[in-house]
Amino acid sequence: MGVEMEVKQMTNEKKFLTIDGKEIEFYEGQTILEVSKKAGIYVPTLCYLEGLEGYGACRLCLCKVEGVKKFLPACTTPAKEGMVVTTKDHELQEMRREIMKLILSEHPHSCLICENKDECERYRPSLQKTGRIFGCFSCPNKQECEIREIMEYLEIEDIEHDLYYKDYPLKREDPFIEKDYNICILCGRCVRVCNELRGTGAINFINRGHDTKVSTVLGLPHIESNCQFCGACVDVCPTGALSSKNTKWTTEYSEVKSSICGFCSVGCGFKYYSIHGEIVESIPDKTNTVNNGQACVIGRFCTPQFNNGKDRLKYPAYKLDDKHIPTNWSTIYEKIVKKLKKYNPEEIAILASPSLTNESAFLLNKFAHKVLLTNNIFTPLEENPIRIFYKQLQQQLNMKTYQRSFQSIKDSDIILLFNSDIQVSHPVLFIELNKAKKQGAKIISINLSKYEFSIDTKKLLDYDLNLSRKEMLSFIIAFCREFINNFEVPKSLISNFNDFTSWLDSIKPHMQENNFKEIISDIINALKNKEKFKGTIIFGLLKTISRDFIQDLLGSLFNIMVLTKQRFKILPLWRLGNCEGVYQNIFYDKKKDYKSTSQILKEISEGKIKVVYLTERINNRSFLDKLELVIIQDIYSSDDINFADFILPACSFLEESGSYINSESKLQKLTKSADEIGEAKPDWKILSDLACTYNKDMCNKFNYTDDKEILREIKETNPFLTEIAKEAKNQTHLNNQQTLFTFNFDRNYIRPFYDVFTQKSFKFRGEAIYKKVDDLRYLIEYRTEKIQTLELDKKIEEEPIKTPFKVIQNKEIAPNFFKLTIHAPFIAKKARPSSFIIIMNDEKSERIPLTLTDWNKNKGNITVIYQETGYSTRELSEVRRGEYLYSVVGPLGREIELKHFGTVLLGGGCYGIGAIYPIARKLKELGNRVIVILEARNQLLFYFEKEFENLADEVIYCTSDGSKGLKGKIDTGIKYVLDKGIKIDRCHFIGCTLMEMKASKMTEANGKIPTFVNLNTIMIDGTGMCGGCRVTLEKDGKEITKFACVDGPTFNGHLVNWERLITRGERLTFSESKIYQTHTCLALENKNNLGESNE
């Protein structure tokens, strides 16, 4: 295949075009953009996406082509011989600037053009987890922003257009993905990747003109659409419109490692992002040729949660009186060895997990043979098909292995899917299937009994056959028959060709054979029309099927491979991470007589085997109860781990280095991407330590410093690994003597153990992934059982929490800003300007301190303005009118001195606009001249404008983007007032720490005007006990410690040590960034407590 491709390119004569004066070579079919990119010429673009057809929507890549009047988009214009292209000149740049300004007129841009942006980013004390994104500070794409890059490239400093805010509701109802289409620039990447590449088509554009937006059908939540939650749309979004719920607001990653996902046998490449050694994000690796930057829901969204689960095993432990006592490693080794030595080798069995690395599996085998001297090593049923596959390959084709690759799917003309639903079992490979279909491949699915495919798969299938086992075999027989009749077969290479044909003749055409006649002749015709056809037979394991049937099926499939001179190739798809690697590393020694899994299980139930060493969990209690000693080496704890006598905490594939072998038989390297959890160790390390403890003589045989040494040893001893290490180069085994497979067609197969592979079947070390990842569980259960969120809501409504704090109103008055009115008569009676309250939404929620904005003694109502800025305020924003809050404490805070000062300057930003209002009102009542400066990023974020304009003597607006009033921050406003020559007697500022700091420094520098600020520190109890709100004041060179909750919140702005305050504010950042990952859904938990059916 590779050779042919090269030839194709060679025959293409060399062609040249000129871009920006440079002569550049290109191939037919390349666009100007592709050629430029390759030549290192930068052309800005926002809608172009590598791997997809050009789109031409953002118009940023417009170029000039000599002889063409119009400007042409580089991303869609095919390169032509002799073309003369200009990609950059004054006119084009000017045009791009204007287009970019149009794009930014509908995307928050205050942070991009704000003069204070660097300072603002540096001093921002904590993450801004606002729902609606109103600037870079709250954008999930902040760290890698393509828009900012282009802004800088085009040197845009100002945007004349007013920001147009679309005011779409936030979409947060889905698992994994959050959407804020207010900042979407409609580049169409998500739509195209979903439709063209993934073949899902869950989203598309709706509406026309300016109202165009991205949506699912009828605007339904994604969970009710076709969406597979693969995350491809999130990964390509150049804005933060689509974001991963779990990692929307992570702080900056401290490390990125490229490694392999170990959840299934595709082995996708991923980039794992970690903070302080803890995985926080997994993003598919674009450079990896297995998945080319694509992923599935599990790899993309579930990795961090699964890996950081709270039930991970952290310490080695032994059982004492039915309790597990944690201990250290050396103690546990000795305890284990002491127990193990009591048993004969044949009484001990070892279970090898298919999720082990090659190195660990190899050592496990070595440990069994060399240390425990037992041959009882087995794997969960998974190894059967692999064992048969390699046996048949050796017998029929005389080959140890052959080159097979996922890429070959898309280059095939015919694809036969045997017992596989790729979209469920290997979602990433579905893309290849989709590509194949686009290139005109015929796809035929042959499945055991009834199987319902998803709509996406159905769209791709030319034929969907649901057959019995006999019918499936007779389909292959019929195909072989037809093939022999129509094509030249290399008889000379086949040792038993005549036997085979007579065997074929002996089998009476099965009743069903007539039903496939049409399909088979269709395939044969398609083959005839292609001079060099390529076929792929995908052998899947959608269901667990009996051993003898697999033998006959695989044998027959290999017959096709033999007859067609390997133009049809079998691509087996195993299920779990390192199935093949574990099999190859344990059963490579063909001389040894291994017992089958069922044999071992039988011996356990007969009591012949008394001890098992498990490397993953067995869910079948009936076997475990028979055992005398159980040692478990695993990563997860669970309720039924009680049976284990010894627990050895192991590492997940993210925490160790080593290697896996995927379904392509490709050796893939794992990189250690995260720190071990607790005391956990890599499996090979545990095994070698244990071996050394068991038998001091073994120390030198198990003396490895790292996994590379083991791999070296594997390559020396294991012929298979040697074979694949050569990467199966120059494999033309066509000259080998080959054999065709015959079998007893009339035999009856044992009824298969019926087990359909579903999303629930994804496991790592025996632990189902969905059980540890709430969102995945929600997704699966929602779709299979259709539990409606409404039902969950109902439950809550049935038992309302009866507290005195009824919510009168909770309304979004500006993006992210909510006005909350609560009935709290006692607080209303005692409220004073600058008082604050602490709210708890429910009994488990965080305590939120909020400054009072208004109160009504007669009605007994109090009002606060809050910004949705984190997890708790987000919860609060979802409280509806008529519901009750768990608790409201207040009024808190020291009373501030308010009297007739003369002229008072007040400043408010964000929530401070509301908080400063009662102070302004009181000061005005006392006869002061009140000047108010209101600060926001954009005019849309102002509220209470009317109230202030009616109250104050002068209101000055400052916006970062100049959309209202002065362009700038609070200091611009203060300067404006001072420049007017107004004498200020007193100042009071409320806003973010940066704003208060700036204002205080400004008034200090301008004649030390008495200045007060309300500090918004971390606050927990509000009684001065916890110390969270500590503030350091500096007076006359002395440091004074105060607590904002009892001594404040108002302080003299000139005395505050701002640097320290900001550092304290940053403390919560990391734990706050992880709250979605660690949070468990109460509703789901309750549901499961009611009784969850075990698998």
């Binding site: 929507a57 287009i99 149009l102 007129s105 004349e160 620039i185 300016h210 165009t212």
Partner: protein, 606 residues
């Protein structure tokens, strides 16, 4: 003894416009009356397509007298039978009256509206029954395809069309022969042919009329085109808002298939061709060829950048040729009469005729077919009969909502691609809207911009966002809130949108704005500087007042006002409270004495 009568044929217009005025009932009633009278053997009544003079519907043409009766009502039918058909007396009242002279015109050929027209595309329109293939064949229909299949190779057909100089009548005016040649030469099989009948321009109804009145000519044109490019499958894309056109086209397809003009081995020539009718869902942008193709393929109707052109990669990435209804309807005429004949009509640069839909402030609105190169003056004043109510001509907007406005001083401009483009307008699909002195040019620009903005597909930035920003500025101007900087921004933005948009929709959307700024800049400036709307249209800038000297105090205005803004005692002059007045204009129209007038700020701003 039966009396002898003259044999006559009544051509009853059954186009959409006349139907909506009651032509269906009139037709059946008339038929009944004739069948029940002794005229039965002498008079035949035929339902035809449009007669072109839609403003005057329902219309009947009586042949061979060549008399046009207009505005026919039920009660007139008896008269027609008794007086005209039986007694050969012409009914003066039903004749067309010249708007200038007020005289009734007897012979249809003497009507200015018809006199100047050169019907080539619309040759059969209004003359044959579109629901009967036999009639079409009887007047020489399908002769052109017979001629082609018998004598021409595909290349010869292309050569013939090429030398005829026919240019696409959809708007852009690309040489049709050249287009066919590109598709003919493009590698790839199969090839497709599309007839673009997605006429989305407001006020345009040329394609509808042709499809309704003469569907077989379009089918014949498609056959010839398909033969030339080597296509065996064709699509006719007609907007769903044209139910009658769809019905008649479907019927025509059925009939021509039965007659052997469609299907396999047409006329024993070995040439196969089928046509599938696709209904458009009413998106303006789907008239753009790549969007139309996306729509046919079941995708969202969004345009794609060109190149690659449809000729090399169109439907399902196969070579595709797409022509407008009018272009295809012209093709059989050229084949029949030869390219030399066609060359003689129109201008050297653009031979042939074009069909225009004349509407707006004009006496004779309707459908006209003229040789290219006819001047605007002739169109408006001779054929159109000038402006009603003795108002002044202000401008004409050509080419649909994205065409430019051409002012009075360019009245002598010939209507063709080159000249219109040089004035900043376009030929477009053929819409012509005449504007009189009561039209505010800023408001008209705002109106067309709001149309284009709403109809943008939303794909490319300049069209989706740029037009919205332009609309915002235009709205500001009409509300008197804009500054001169806004006008500059508007011009700059218009230029950007024009230069950078993906498809024709965005590229032409700024035309009304650019041309009105160019030719009527003063009007913009008055709106901005003096908050003044000289045409008294922009609501925010005008006030309704009552002239004390004229008002009789009848109180009618007071009664009509829904917000009680008018005060005044009976029989004494009334006044309007401008604080309450919503400027709905009801009183203005209600006043029997024309005492209510509109006023705007004076030029000096005081």
């Amino acid at each position: 003894m039966n009396q002898q009568y003259n044999e006559r044929v009544l051509l009853m217009c059954r186009g959409t416009a006349c139907n909506s005025m009651g032509a269906k009932d009139i037709h059946s009633h008339l038929k009944e009356l004739i069948e029940n009278s002794e005229l039965d053997d002498y008079v035949k009544i035929k339902s035809t397509g449009c007669h072109g003079f839609c403003q005057l519907g329902p219309t009947i043409i009586i042949q061979p007298d060549n008399i046009l009766y207009v505005h026919i009502k039920m009660k007139d039918l008896e008269k027609i039978i008794e007086q005209h058909l039986k007694k050969n007396q012409i009914i003066e009242d039903l004749l067309y009256h010249d708007p200038k002279t007020g005289k009734a015109i007897q012979n249809m050929d003497n009507i200015q509206f018809y006199k100047e027209q050169v019907p080539i595309i619309t040759k059969n329109c209004g003359k044959i029954d579109p629901e009967d293939i036999e009639e079409f064949i009887s007047i020489g229909g399908y002769n052109a395809i017979k001629k082609v299949l018998g004598n021409f190779s595909p290349m010869e057909v292309i050569e013939e069309i090429k030398t005829s100089g026919l240019r696409g009548r959809g708007g852009a005016g690309f040489p049709t022969g050249q287009k066919w040649l590109l598709c003919h030469q493009a590698p790839g099989e199969p090839k497709y042919l599309i007839c673009n009948g997605d006429e989305g321009d407001p006020g345009a109804f040329m394609d509808r009329t042709i499809l309704e009145s003469d569907p077989h000519s379009v089918i014949e044109g498609m056959l010839i085109a398909a033969y030339a490019i080597g296509a065996s499958q064709g699509f006719a894309y007609i907007r769903a808002e044209y139910p009658l056109a769809i019905k008649r086209f479907e019927l025509a397809l059925e009939q021509s298939e039965k007659a052997g003009y469609l299907g396999e081995n047409i006329l024993d020539s070995g040439f196969d061709f089928t046509i599938t009718l696709k209904k458009g869902a009413g998106a303006f942008v789907c008239g753009e060829e790549t969007a139309l193709m996306a729509s046919i393929m079941g995708e969202r109707g969004m345009p794609k950048p060109k190149p690659p052109y449809p000729a090399t990669s169109g439907l399902w990435n196969k070579p595709t040729n797409i022509n407008n209804v009018k272009t295809l309807a012209t093709v059989p005429r050229i084949i029949e009469n030869g390219h030399k004949w066609y060359n003689c009509i129109g201008t050297e640069d653009a031979p042939g005729t074009t069909v225009l839909a004349l509407s707006g402030k004009i006496n004779n609105s309707g459908l006209v077919e003229l040789p290219l190169g006819t001047t605007i003056e002739k169109l408006v004043f001779d054929i159109g009969g000038g402006i009603p109510n003795e108002k002044q001509f202000k401008a004409v907007q050509t080419g649909g909502p994205s065409g430019g406005c051409i002012p009075k001083k360019y009245l002598d401009t010939p209507l063709d691609y080159k000249h219109l483009t040089s004035l900043g307008s376009i030929m477009g699909s053929g819409g012509c809207i005449v504007l009189d002195e009561d039209t505010c040019m800023v408001e008209i620009a705002r109106y067309f911009m709001s149309f284009c903005q709403k109809e943008s597909c939303g794909k490319c930035v300049p069209c989706r966002v740029g037009t919205k920003r332009m609309l915002e500025i235009l709205t500001k101007i009409t509300e008197g809130k804009a500054t001169m900087k806004d006008l500059n921004d508007l011009e700059k933005l218009a230029q950007i949108v024009k230069n950078t948009s993906l498809c024709g929709l965005g590229q032409t959307a700024p035309n009304p704005v650019l041309t009105t700024i160019k030719y009527f800049r003063k009007e913009y400036e008055q709106h901005i500087k003096y908050k003044r709307c000289p045409a008294l249209v922009c609501k925010s800038l005008i006030e309704y007042c009552i002239d004390e000297n004229v008002c009789t105090g009848c109180g009618i205005c007071k009664e009509t006002c829904s917000v009680n803004a008018i005060q005044g005692m009976e029989n004494s002059p009334h006044t309007i409270n401008t604080d309450i007045c919503t400027k709905c204009g009801v009183c203005y129209n209600a006043c029997p004495n024309n005492a209510i007038y509109k006023k705007t700020n004076p030029i000096n701003g005081c």
